[in-house]
């Protein structure tokens, strides 16, 4: 082979509708499994992508339904990369890891704001970048050696 390896890459695009987010979740699950991730890792990857795409719709597009969210999935030899892009509002700031929850007091439990901390827990990397009007969240997870 003469050419350098081109890693398998697919773009998924959906309308900015919360009731269509499952489509990218299910696709990412199947691709993760094929790329060699275990079932529970694929579950976690699906979850993170659903969180990131939901954020793009709810925060990026403020719930407006007629925009588009693009997800690029790249299967590197050692890791999977999921890149969520939207053309809506960027974050004012990317929240840091929230402080530990006091589990002795049910009233203090969070009812929202858990999305990014799930992503941080599952993924090896998460970065946010803006390119012109496009806001890009990149998440990467390494495949654990068998």
């Amino acid at each position: 082979m003469n050419e350098s390896r081109v890693f398998p890459r697919i773009r998924l695009s959906i309308q900015s509708r919360l009731d269509h987010v499952f489509l990218v979740g299910k696709s990412a699950w199947a691709l993760s499994r094929y790329a060699g991730f275990g079932e529970s890792e694929a579950d976690s990857i699906e979850l993170c992508l659903v969180e990131a795409v939901t954020n793009a719709i709810q925060h990026g597009y403020r719930g407006e339904k007629d925009h588009s969210v693009d997800i690029d999935i790249i299967l590197f030899s050692d890791r999977i990369s999921l890149v969520v892009s939207h053309g809506g509002q960027g974050p004012l700031h990317v929240p840091k890891e929230p402080s530990e929850v006091d589990i002795t007091d049910a009233r203090s439990l969070p009812e929202s704001g858990m999305g990014l901390s799930i992503i941080r827990r599952v993924m090896d990397h998460m970065t946010y970048a803006t390119h012109g009007n496009v806001h890009v969240w990149t998440m990467e997870k390494r495949r654990s050696d068998e």
Binding site: D43, S44, V101, I103, A106, I118, V122
Partner: protein, 112 residues
């Protein structure tokens, strides 16, 4: 949000029928549970047997139900699929909630 319910003595068993509880339907889910609480229901078993996936907003809705029940109420969950259990572990919420394999165990825990 499609949801079945059964009353076993003073324990209400709620069975969501949708395969996913996520941002698209978590508000409707929360509304349905909180309605029962506002009607005076104090012991609730949430049977997640048909639920294949929950995201953070679905989890937020379950947490909200727990808070709405308050100190004199009781909530137990059962029928957690692997992806759902995975979410509870990732968020450490398996330490907060009473989780059971079967509906029978969950009901009998709340009944006495």
């Amino acid at each position: 949000m499609r949801m079945e319910h059964t009353l076993i003595d003073d324990v209400l068993v709620l069975v969501p029928l949708d395969a996913r509880i996520e941002a698209a339907n978590s508000a409707a889910f929360k509304g349905a549970v909180v309605d029962w609480i506002h009607k005076g229901q104090r012991k609730i078993v949430l049977d997640l047997i048909h639920v294949e996936f929950i995201d953070s907003s679905g989890l937020g809705a379950i947490i909200s139900s727990l808070k709405n029940l308050g100190k004199d109420g009781d909530l137990a969950l059962c029928g957690l699929s692997k992806p759902v259990m995975n979410l509870f572990r990732l968020t450490r919420m398996q330490r907060i909630f009473q989780l059971f394999e079967s509906r029978e165990e969950a009901v009998s825990k709340l009944a006495h």
